[in-house]
Amino acid sequence: MTGFLIKRFLQAVFVVLVVTLFVSYAVRLSGDPAIMLAQGAGSVTEQDLQNIRTGLGLDRPFPVQYAEFVKGMLVGDFGRSFLGGTPVSRLIGDALPATLSLAGASLLLSLLISIPLGIQAAVHQGGPIDQAIRIGSLVGLSFPNFWLAIMLVLLLSIAFPVFPPSGWDGPISLVLPTLTMAIIFSATNIRLVRTAMLETLSAQYIMVARAKGLKNSVVLYQHALRNCAIPLITYIGLQFGKMIGGLVVVEKVFNWPGMGTLAFDAISARDYPVLQGSVTVLALLVVLANLLVDVAYGIVDPRIRNS
């Protein structure tokens, strides 16, 4: 296990380095932050722009800038935002918990929705319950996340003002963004659980369990569910990257003070250090999630652990 973890760790470092190199280079191709900072200024001369670039350290060659970034990154220093000079580590420190709580709550809620519904659909295969759940998940799958977010705001913040439409006013602010993300992910997860469950339910050991006269709930939730877990965990791990992408949009609509909003605003302002810092952290999260999936396999299925 230790050798496996070391190998995985080195892989992770490599992935993160490649990502940061790519992001740092690409963002510099995309435009000049000096002009963004001077935006609205009456008469900006080329000299002013040059002064700003020098002040930000952008007059140095790219390899020097990148090397400095990596050096800082090793000690957790991502530099300072071009827009105002706040340390990037502070911005990330504020934003990361917001994103993790949203991602965590969404994941949890989507599992709470999709596991029982997926199982019910499998148990009643072909029947009206199965049909209803399958159509429901198809509908959920067809919603673009930003549209769903706006609809939830219209319904639950404006027509029936129960939840705040945006920002952070305590745990209650989590509800709408969590619901949005959870609905989107449940739609796929339900189908996944259903398929896996159908396969499992036809297995011999389930018939044996039933033949022993075990209660239906014990058969479903203790014998069958465990075997459905592997594909579900794999999928959630893979889904995590996609989830981060979805978070950017959902955070933006709900003005959620998380990593997505941070990265998105940094792109539009050409705030290189903030973008580099937040993308690095997001990449780390995705890598970490995949690592956790591998570890989770071992826990769920002893055969994998022992091999």
Binding site: S30, I35, D48, G84, T86, S157, V175, N216, Y221, D265
Partner: protein
């Protein structure tokens, strides 16, 4: 199964129970004015940024020597009067007595000198502010309540510039002790509101300054919330959680107007839009063709249908509030038949292709470009629309002269003076002028810039406007209104066209 269902039900109930009492916290403290702002400039030091979002906050914390009212009049600020001396080479300011910064530090001539030394020195170099004040040579203290400002060259817009942004007066002792970085996160000024808390990217809070020299503000506190999405700003407004929204989507205006609690406030704004021509290329070399294209497009219809009336047609690249605006100069009339004839006379073949470059993320302008393309097709010109990511267009395409035949140009500015726009747009080799090189235009621009005589300048600026219209260097489109969404419980907001709020008289029910 049953246990699982039970767990699910209790979990849902728990969430609901947790949520309902919290829902009540939505109601906000009385006496607090909440403003949605589209951006967090990240730093509240007057020399650090030039963003409109900074301007929306700066006037609450800081004062300039001169101030500008919401209707753009220059009035005494921290200086009670000023006079031009020695053939306009010096301005003598008499300062307001008994004014204190929020930290108790006295405001005096030393503070004014410190402010300008800082702005014009190395510290100011780091930001984009310095060049706007390049006309100032130095500030000299005469006595504690008098300073002389020596000028290197005339700058007819200087007084306006002293009323804003970089020239806001800052506390010397505080900055020397705490450093600029700390100051940027914890601003101290002489303004009507005292800084209390700043959460980067989330919010910025102020408390009223009871000792404000201009009379204490009526509201107890002021909160800015940074909300970038216009639709989200509108939702927050509808939910009654913000009192002023500075960016609401045009499509939402009707909905907001119908809400009895809300109002939409709209006025002439600083932003003008035009389609500039690439006069170095193809059919655009011909002035008659450029004019014909202007006449082929029905701008009134575009304003009415796409912009829902929140704009005014323009004949030069400026709106009515701009100094140098010429009410006598009328836009060319919409006349497709004549346009067609002019194009035929110029030898332009039907089906000729032109390319229009525009800011892709701007969904309103995307529709405007499509409408323009349709009108031009009506006179036989095929337009290919080319959207660019805004920064690519601004950084790479326009300054390097890589545009198509037509390109979107949008210009704001808070000085409301055509000099600013015209100089950047038409003076040879300026950043926003990749194509034109006109000695006559350069001379006119130069003349007005080097004069203090406002009547003379007005005349020259109007001449520039007429000359550019005659040369048809661009297709002037419209000047946009400044539009705010407002909760009616907030009164006396004195909302300004340039977005620079000052809520001294505002009240909240």
């Amino acid at each position: 199964m049953r246990t699982f269902q039970k767990t699910m039900i209790s979990a849902s109930l728990a969430i609901a129970a947790l949520a309902s009492p919290l829902a009540m916290t939505n109601a906000r403290a009385a006496g607090t004015l909440t403003v949605a702002l589209h951006q967090d400039p990240g730093n509240w030091d007057p020399i650090a940024t030039f963003l409109v979002a900074w301007g929306a906050v700066g006037g609450q914390v800081f004062d300039g020597l001169i101030m500008r009212t919401p209707d753009m009049k220059l009035v005494p600020g921290l200086a009670t009067k000023w006079e031009f001396l020695d053939k306009n080479s010096k301005i003598r300011f008499t300062l307001r007595p008994n004014v204190k910064f929020h930290n108790g530090e006295p405001f005096d001539a030393e503070a004014v000198k410190f402010t300008f030394d800082r702005l014009l020195g190395d510290e100011g170099k780091k930001g984009p502010q310095q060049s706007n004040y390049a006309a100032i040579d130095k500030v000299v203290v005469v006595n504690p309540l008098t300073v002389d400002m020596y000028l290197k060259s005339p700058d007819p817009v200087l007084l306006t510039k002293l009323a804003g942004y970089g020239a806001m007066i800052v506390p010397p002792k505080y900055i020397k002790e705490k450093g600029s970085e700390y100051f940027g996160m914890n601003p101290v000024g002489t303004g009507p509101f005292k800084f209390t808390e700043y959460k980067p990217k989330v919010s910025l809070s102020f408390a009223r300054n009871p000792d404000y020299w201009g009379g204490a503000p009526k509201v107890d506190s002021l909160v800015y919330r940074f909300i970038a999405e216009p639709a989200t700003q509108a939702a927050e407004l509808q939910a009654g959680r913000v009192d002023v929204a500075n960016q609401v989507p045009l499509a939402m205006l009707e909905t907001l107007k119908k809400d009895p609690k809300l109002a939409v406030v709209s006025m002439d704004g600083p932003v003008a839009l035009a389609l500039r021509y690439n006069t170095s290329r193809g059919i655009m070399k011909d002035r008659e063709v450029r004019k014909a294209l202007i006449m082929a497009v029905d701008r009134d219809a575009i304003i009415k249908t796409i912009l829902l009336g929140q704009a005014k047609p323009i004949a030069s690249f400026q709106g009515e509030l701009s100094f140098g605006y010429d009410p006598a100069l009328k836009p060319l009339p919409f006349n497709p038949a004549q346009a067609k004839a002019m194009l035929a006379k110029a030898g332009v073949k039907p089906g000729t292709q032109v390319q229009l470059d525009f800011r892709g993320p701007d969904s309103n302008f995307r529709e405007v470009s499509q409408a323009v393309a349709a009108y031009l097709q009506g006179v036989g010109i095929q337009v290919s629309l080319k959207p660019y990511e805004t920064n690519v267009l601004l950084n790479d395409i326009i300054p390097n002269g890589k545009t198509g035949e037509m390109w979107q140009n949008q210009w704001g500015g808070w000085t409301f003076d055509y000099d600013n726009t015209a100089y950047s747009m038409y003076y040879t080799k300026q950043r926003w002028n990749p194509f034109d090189d006109d000695a006559k235009l350069n001379a006119l621009l130069h003349t007005q810039r080097n004069s203090w005589d406002q009547a003379e300048r007005q005349k020259t600026l109007r001449e520039i406007g007429r000359y550019v219209a005659d040369q048809a260097l661009e297709m002037p489109l419209y000047s946009l209104n400044t539009v705010y969404g407002v909760n009616k419980r907030a009164r006396n907001l004195a909302l300004p066209a340039d977005g620079r709020f000052r809520f001294v008289e505002a009240t909240v029910e």
